[in-house]
């Protein structure tokens, strides 16, 4: 009797204690959005390609006689001029003496163009102030050509406030895809400024002379001696954005300096060294997750190493391009 009552009580208690409600969530396996892990490895090339393919800059293509030394007007503010028979076959080093030369020039007109081409204004870990960067390519019958050692070309473009300390920098592609590339100075070119104010034409700018094709730039190192600097740390406010799917740039608002931040796997953040204290910057992130683009922008002032949070939102390619075009 007593045993029956006890058993009945236990059964009743167990039934009454049963959980009434649950709502379980199961992330869909294989989805990038559900992958919140950081990778100790470098960023995948496929991801970079997806971004690069989405954002391109407009290049100027034209042709000119190989013997010509006439100025070639790229746009209203830029022109290029080759010396006669300046192009040679890069394999044989024999000068091209017949026919026209196909010319492609891609100027990085604004800071958004740097991001589109995923080019930063840094030389190793040092920041550069860029006066202007161009991609120059010559070819004949789709065969790439080079500039003869004794020849050169000159790009002349306007700039409101050209700096006299600009140097020639050539871009070197890095095998480390996190860094992508770095600008290096060298003797392959020179940079000078020009000012036509004396001729009653209020125009100023830079003149870059180079003996190599590819990415060339007029730039100068930021003051890294007398200016206080810090490490800038950027945290993504959503764990969905990792070094697998996100590129973060720091765009200086008052100068043509664009820094691609380096992923910090240990601290799950993006960072850059040698950021001047008090620098007014715009944080700009592009993420591609499961084919969807996310854009993160934020204006900030770097006063310390304290993290700056950035929360990307799902966006579209045109919207991102528009945002990039506004980064003057």
């Amino acid at each position: 009797m007593r045993r029956i009552l006890i058993i009945s009580f236990i059964v009743g208690s167990l039934m009454s204690c049963s959980k009434d409600e649950s709502n379980q969530f199961f992330p869909t396996p294989g989805l990038g959005i559900n992958d919140t892990t950081w990778t100790p490895n470098t960023i995948r090339k496929s991801f970079l390609d997806s971004v690069s393919d989405a954002f391109t800059i407009s290049a100027i293509t034209t042709s000119f006689p190989c013997s010509s030394d006439k100025l070639i007007k790229l746009n209203d503010s830029a022109q290029i001029q080759f010396t006669p028979y300046a192009c040679v076959d890069p394999n044989t080093n024999i000068a091209i003496t017949n026919g026209n030369i196909d010319l492609t020039v891609a100027p990085l007109r604004n800071k958004g163009d740097y991001i589109k081409e995923m080019i930063t204004t840094t030389s190793t870990k040092y920041l550069l102030l860029s006066g202007g960067s161009f991609y120059v390519q010559v070819s004949q019958n789709n065969n790439p050509l080079a500039i003869a050692p004794t020849s050169y070309y000159t790009i002349k473009w306007q700039d409101v406030n050209p700096q006299s300390n600009m140097q020639y920098f050539g871009l070197t592609t890095l095998t480390n895809l996190d860094s992508l590339c770095t600008w290096n100075t060298g003797k392959a070119g020179t940079v000078s400024t020009w000012d036509s104010s004396n001729y009653s034409v209020n125009k100023k700018g830079y003149s870059l002379t180079a003996r190599v094709t590819g990415w060339v730039s007029a730039a100068s190192f930021l003051d890294t001696v007398t200016t206080a600097r810090t490490r800038a740390n950027i945290l993504m406010s959503s764990a969905n954005f990792t070094n697998k799917n996100t590129l973060v740039f720091m765009v200086f608002n008052n100068q043509r300096t664009v820094v691609k931040l380096i992923p910090d796997y240990v601290n799950r953040c993006f960072y850059s060294l040698n950021i001047p204290l008090g620098a007014s910057v715009t944080l700009f992130s592009i993420s591609v997750i499961d084919g969807n683009f996310y854009l993160g922008t934020k204006n900030a002032t770097v006063n310390s190493a304290n993290p700056i949070n950035l929360l990307p939102q799902q966006s579209s390619i045109p919207a991102i391009i528009a945002a990039l075009n506004n980064l003057n």
Partner: protein, 564 residues
């Protein structure tokens, strides 16, 4: 006379030497209650009754009956010495009559208890078990109907007779007279007291012809005289046994019938006559009370409540009241029928809801009907559980994450806590236990297969469960496949269930084990089928069914068989 008296005395002495006849305790209680309060009674008791022994019990006469025909001496004695015997009347009869009147006054409303087993002897079929499945037999059905009709007619008849006793009694007395005509026995002339009493009762006879006729029949009946003779020697025994002479049995029976009617309606006058005839008042009082075929309706006896010592025609009958406390785990099922909802919606409903068992607990009162049938009714709580399981794909869920980070600065490492969020895309499974709760009244009728001297019983039960109130909670889908709550409130935005779930049919088989005389445990597998829709106008109707195994304890409220 003297020699015969000696033989009779010797016989009685031999037969009854060791017999002790008890006096009814209630009788002495009644007498004692008036001792000292009534001078006349005191005097009577002192003079005549004080040493008087009560009537000899039936066992005495059983012994006598046993020897009838087997004891030559007894037979010879009856034939030779009692044939012409006239019952002597004592000289103090007149005084005793006065005393008898006093006793009559004191005891005329007294109800004597009949010894246990008396009716069992009269009705040898006392152990016959009544059955309640007689209607299954067509022949029995008609017989039963006829018996019921006969009872009704008989009751009506006797009720009418009781309202007109004089008229009815007259016809009975006439019958006696006609039967007595053939008897050639002379009235004993020595019975002066009888004559005197007859004379004394003349003024009574003028008021009641029936009494007069009855007295005459007694005086003309030698069989009655013989009985009176026996009664004079052994008072009160005459009408408790059948007369020795078989052809007088009818007469004695008629006399009893007469006395019954007379005493019940004419207490004083009839009693006087019977005293004259053979001092039969005590016996007649007893017989009258129990010979009435239609006693007053006693609800206590019908329900079996309380202890009635009165014997019944059927003897002791089962009269059990039980209280049963029980509980059961239930396996519940649900049937959905389409009204105006779409097939797709019903399919979603069906795929998202699965019955999840339940339980029942309650208490009920059980009362036997007859020996084997059991009527049960009570109050119970039942709950049917349902698992609501809804899978939603491509659901986006954002979770807040707090992360501790160590940031390396030129000044040194700094640990910071960062609050971030994470958004995930996946599928969610929402589970909820829907509960359908009911308070119900179970009413069942069962048949128990009882094997004598066995502690095990098996029963079959069927009946209905009437819902008093019900309420529901949980979640379900609306027609847009959104998860909405279910409730019993009409103002609710979700699916509304009825507050009364109607009626369910119930069937079960029970196995009962006796623990002791008052406690039994039982297990009862059962099935219930819902007849009523539980939902309001939601496009489909829903019925709940259940099967379960009830475990319970049955407590017997009264532990005694009773006369019914």
């Amino acid at each position: 006379m003297s020699e015969a008296q000696n033989i009779l005395d010797d016989f009685i002495k031999n037969k009854l030497a060791n017999h002790i006849s008890p006096v009814s305790a209630a009788l002495w209680d009644k007498v004692n209650a008036n001792i000292g309060a009534d001078a006349a009674l005191d005097s009577f008791v002192k003079s005549t009754v004080n040493n008087h022994s009560s009537a000899i019990s039936n066992t005495v006469w059983d012994k006598i009956n046993t020897n009838i025909g087997t004891d030559a001496a007894l037979d010879h004695f009856i034939k030779t010495s009692i044939e012409d015997y006239a019952s002597p009347v004592g000289n103090d009869l007149g005084d005793r009559i006065i005393g008898d009147e006093i006793i009559r006054d004191k005891l005329n409303k007294y109800v004597s208890q009949v010894p246990e087993g008396l009716w069992g002897k009269i009705f040898p079929y006392k152990d016959r078990k009544p059955t309640f499945i007689w209607w299954l037999n067509e022949k029995r059905t008609w017989l039963s109907a006829a018996a019921i009709l006969l009872l009704i007619v008989g009751y009506t008849f006797f009720a009418t007779v009781r309202k007109n006793p004089v008229e009815s009694k007259s016809s009975a007395s006439n019958s006696n007279e006609s039967s007595l005509k053939d008897n050639k026995v002379n009235v004993p002339k020595e019975n002066n007291i009888l004559k005197a009493e007859q004379t004394n009762s003349d003024h009574t006879i003028q008021q009641n012809n029936l009494v007069d006729q009855s007295s005459q029949s007694l005086t003309q009946n030698n069989s009655s005289a013989y009985s009176n003779h026996i009664a004079s020697a052994v008072p009160y025994i005459k009408t408790q046994i059948p007369p020795f002479v078989s052809n007088d049995e009818r007469i004695v029976s008629n006399t009893r019938s007469d006395n019954t009617q007379i005493i019940s309606e004419h207490n004083y006058y009839t009693s006087s006559n019977n005293l004259i005839a053979g001092q039969l008042i005590p016996f007649n009082l007893n017989i009258n009370d129990h010979a009435n075929p239609f006693p007053p309706i006693n609800l206590r006896n019908i329900l079996g409540i309380g202890m009635s010592d009165c014997p019944s025609v059927n003897g002791n009958r089962r009269n059990d009241w039980y209280i049963e406390i029980y509980g059961s785990p239930d396996y519940t099922t649900k049937s959905i029928m389409q009204n105006n909802a779409s097939n797709a919606y019903l399919q979603k409903i069906d795929s998202s809801q699965t019955m999840y068992g339940g339980f029942t607990a309650g208490v009920r009162i059980a009362k036997n009907i007859g020996e084997d049938f059991m009527f049960k009714a009570g109050l119970q709580y039942s709950q049917a559980n349902e698992l609501f399981n809804r899978k939603t794909v491509n659901e986006i869920r954002t979770t807040t994450v707090i992360t501790a980070r160590t940031i390396v600065r030129p000044q040194g490492d700094t640990t910071i806590s960062d609050t971030s969020s994470v958004t995930q895309i996946g599928y969610s499974i929402k589970k909820a236990i829907n509960q359908y709760k009911n308070i119900e009244i179970p009413v069942t009728l069962g048949y128990e297969f009882i094997k004598k001297d066995s502690k095990w019983k098996v029963g079959l039960n069927t009946g209905a469960i009437v819902n008093i109130t019900s309420w529901a909670s949980g979640e379900t889908l609306d027609t847009a496949y959104n998860v909405v709550p279910i409730s019993s409130n009409k103002g609710s935005s979700g699916v509304v269930y009825k507050t009364k779930a109607g009626v369910s049919l119930y069937a079960s088989a029970s196995i009962i084990r006796e623990v002791n005389k008052k406690v039994e445990v039982f297990a009862e597998p059962y099935f219930r089928y819902g007849l009523s829709n539980t939902t309001t106008d939601v496009g489909y109707s829903q019925h709940f069914n259940a099967a379960g195994l009830t475990f319970g304890v049955r407590l017997k409220l009264n532990n005694k068989r009773q006369h019914l």
